[in-house]
């Protein structure tokens, strides 16, 4: 059949339409052959085919060949989400010899076959959206991606093990890194741990050499006790403002001799020591822990008598031979330019007081796992002695799993690390005290290299495991043996009855959750979060450390709960992606920016105030608006508001969208 010549007013339009079965993912619900037959009847369509897997090489080659044989100049693919494969088909279109933007993608899987059950209606919907795409694609214009150079440095936000690993990897490749950490020292949660599972090697022995390396690395600018307060720009060209909190110490003079701490007027600590989970006290002038990096003291303005306006002889300042103490220090700011950002802001542990029946905060001998972690550490508040608050050694210990995890009242997700760290703590408590240790679990989730073996080892060591979610921890005895003890009430779901187990100490294995200010961080970097609040990766498999903002990567527990090996692997991946961007040297900007038609513009300035990126200015000589393509991010707000219709957004032109609306609705 001879094809009728169809034009868009400028050229003959020859459209190729391809619909994908995606195995049975689409083909099982949508009659793809019927859609292809329907589209073949639409004006301008020269080729209309269905194929098992369009994204396969064979599928892509089909497009390339058809472009040549049939002189196609527009391509439409109906398949999965454009967020998944738009890039793939654009490059196939390009490979066929035509501009990659002569392509449009129709989503009939995520928005079609996967969400609809009625086959006839799903097929009709697919026909309608395919018609919309065919209608719009004939107006598509050839577009070019603009190239921008990439600033050769990386900002890493958060100095836990993820940030440390990423910084080291990048530095090894000779890249300039800014590592910004909110706390006075880097190290994050890992610095709190005694040993790591399943090998039981000492956490400090792994971490502290890395920390020291970071501190002395000429490629790494380490700013601790500092926060990122503002981020602007785009991939390759970000600017960030960093706020340095006052330490009241001149950082270039302090050598970390700690004489000031010894000579503080407070002979004993007067403030809860955050590092030791408030199990001990520290002075107002302090260093978080002996291996802190940078090894600089900090004065806590809340606890210091002088900074609170009180009378103090300032013996710390007198003791400092280098005159490093500066009570007048103010916050300061640095502005930096970086090509890419890695966000490694970590997690917080679940607040055990949110499960009141477990008695945390009410009973002295109910601890969180992190507190016990400090107790078993030889550098901890008790020098590694596992003792109760009254100094006694526990003879029986209960470890309650899944506190704030897998719980519809609090957090639904599995925190992934608690089973393993509970096993580690069980082993360490038993080793330190010889106590009988009970683990109360829902399921043992020991998936990881050497993890199941570690669980078996714990079983062999004679630890007790009771399957059941603990209902309550109480100090109300019902028998003589429960007198003076904490009683764990649990339904033993293997034995099939409710048990009361009296113990001396209860350890709550709290889960991992997003940090309280995660949404502020998220907004600053313009990234999304999943429903639980962890930062959202662009695609769980194809782009697991990328975000919706190009050039901003995520790694570690800010993306979701994970253990140290996974965190390190992910951080290395993020460093690799950042390096790829830096070494490429340029970024290709999406061409969806807007431009002004000077002939139509009346110079009314409506658009200028609307642009959130200050990309529009007015050329007073010509009396027209001018859009700076470098600053324009392509939202299209100005286009929709221009009363003269003088602004056009590439790929989202009025004619394209109106055509899509009309054609989508034209199919009955």
């Amino acid at each position: 059949m001879e094809h009728e010549v169809h034009t868009n007013g400028k050229e003959e339009v020859r459209i190729g339409f391809y619909i994908c079965h995606c195995g049975s993912n689409i083909g099982g619900t949508i009659d793809v052959a019927a859609v292809a037959d329907y589209v073949r009847t639409l004006p301008g369509v020269v080729v209309s085919k269905d194929y098992k897997y369009m994204c396969s090489n064979a599928g892509q080659d089909m497009i390339v060949e058809d472009i040549e044989i049939n002189r196609l100049n527009r391509i439409v693919v109906a398949a999965c989400s454009p967020l998944l494969h738009e890039k793939t088909f654009r490059s196939a279109t390009h490979k066929g010899g035509i501009n990659p933007f002569f392509f449009h993608m129709v989503n009939i899987r995520e928005h079609g076959s996967w969400v609809h059950e009625d086959k006839a209606l799903a097929t009709e919907k697919a026909k309608a959206v395919a018609r919309g795409a065919v209608g719009r694609v004939r107006f598509h214009k050839a577009l070019e991606k603009r190239k921008e150079p990439v600033t050769q440095s990386v900002l890493i936000v958060g100095g836990g093990i993820a940030g440390i690993q990423a910084a080291q990897t990048l530095s090894n490749a000779g890249k300039k890194v800014y590592l910004v950490e909110r706390e006075p020292t880097i190290g994050g949660h890992m610095a709190l741990f005694d040993k790591t599972f399943p090998t039981l090697d000492c956490a400090a022995c792994i971490l502290t050499p890395k920390m020291t390396d970071i501190g002395s690395d000429p490629n790494i600018t380490l700013w601790s006790y500092a926060e990122v307060v503002d981020v602007k720009g785009y991939v390759g060209n970000f600017t960030a403002q960093i706020r340095h909190k006052p330490r009241y110490i001149k950082e270039d003079l302090c050598v970390g001799c700690l004489d000031c701490i010894d000579n503080c007027v407070f002979k004993q600590g007067n403030t809860d020591d955050e590092f030791n989970q408030s199990l001990s006290k520290r002075k107002p002038v302090y260093i978080p822990f002996p291996q802190a990096v940078p090894k600089l003291v900090v004065i806590d303005p809340e606890a210091c008598t002088h900074l609170n306006g009180g009378k103090c002889e300032q013996s710390c300042a007198t003791a400092c031979e280098r005159d490093a103490i500066d009570f007048n220090q103010k916050e300061s700011f640095d502005d930096i330019e970086v090509g890419t950002v890695i966000v490694t802001t970590g997690f917080k542990t679940f607040d055990a007081a949110r499960k009141p029946l477990y008695g945390y905060g009410r009973y002295d001998n109910v601890y969180t796992a992190l507190e016990v972690e400090r107790l078993v550490t030889s550098s901890g508040p008790t020098g590694g002695e596992v003792v109760l608050r009254d100094g006694r050694r526990p003879k029986t210990v209960a470890i309650v799993h899944c506190v704030g995890s897998r719980d519809h009242q609090t957090n639904r997700w599995c925190s992934r690390v608690c089973c393993m760290y509970s096993l580690k703590l069980a082993h360490l408590i038993k080793e330190h005290t010889g106590a009988e240790v009970f683990n109360f679990y829902i399921d043992m989730r020991c998936a990881g290299k050497g993890y199941e073996e570690f669980y078996e080892r714990l079983l062999e060591e004679g630890n007790r495991f009771v399957r059941g979610r603990v209902a309550e921890v109480t100090d109300v005895p019902v028998s003589a043996e429960e007198e003076g003890k904490l009683v764990v009430k649990v339904e033993d779901s293997l034995a099939g009855f409710v048990r009361r187990i009296p113990v001396d100490m209860v350890v709550l294995s709290t889960g991992l959750e997003p940090r309280q200010d995660a949404s502020n961080v998220r907004r600053m970097f313009n990234i999304s979060c999943s429903s639980e609040g962890f930062f959202l990766e662009r695609h769980p498999k194809l782009a697991p450390i990328s975000t919706t903002t190009d050039g901003v990567f995520i790694a570690g527990c800010c993306q979701g709960p994970k253990d140290i090996p996974d965190t390190v692997a992910q951080a290395g991946f993020a460093a690799g992606e950042a390096m790829a961007l830096l070494d490429k040297g340029f970024v290709e900007m999406e061409p969806m920016t807007s431009f002004v038609n000077e002939e139509l513009c009346s110079g009314c300035k409506t658009c200028i105030g609307l642009c959130p990126f200050s990309a529009i200015t007015r050329d007073d000589a010509k009396e027209v608006a001018v859009i700076n393509p470098v600053l324009c991010k392509g939202c299209g707000v100005c286009v929709a508001a221009c009363p003269s219709g003088a602004i056009t957004q590439n790929l989202f032109e009025d004619c394209e969208i109106f055509a899509e609306i009309e054609e989508v609705l034209a199919h009955a």
Binding site: S81, P82, L83, N107, R109, E110, H111, G112, W114, V115, H116, E117, D118, L121, A122, E124, K125, A128, V129, G132, R523, N526, S528, C529, S530, S531, L536, T548, T549, M592, L610, P612, F613, K633, G634, C635, G636, V637, V639, A640, A641, Q649, F652, D654, I657, F658, E660, I661, E662, V664, L665, A666
Partner: protein, 163 residues
Amino acid sequence: MPNVFEPRILAFFCNWCTYTAADLAGVSRMKYAPTTRVVRVMCSGRVDPQFVLSAFAKGADGVLIGGCHPGDCHYLEGNTKFLRRFRMLKRMLADLGIEPERLRLEWISASEGDRLRTVVNEMTEQIRALGPLHMPAHFKEWDTEVLVEDLSHDREEEVGERV
């Protein structure tokens, strides 16, 4: 099969939040009414009031706009820019005699696939209860009326253009 009215809802979804939420609904295999026809825009702020009017004129029974939650816009504040236009459109549609339920604006974030399902199903039910809008048919009718009244040729053309 009983003859149920299947509304046609034209949906403008922003690329970053609601479009992604619809993708998530798909990946999660949530089932909802096959009544939407999605037009992807980069930002809800790109939605020109004329798009909405055109959709009704060309046969949509309802128009749904999905954007990011306030404060979460990928372009900082495009969503709130559309909110202003939405309020204007609501008043305009009321004046035109189009029921307010036919136009809906929802903030649906990338993680709210279930919210998307609920909104589409709700809107489908509401519009099903209202019945079809039939704007194209109305336009045709009105054109005929004009002819019957034997107005001048110029006037006809003007009406034709408006359509």
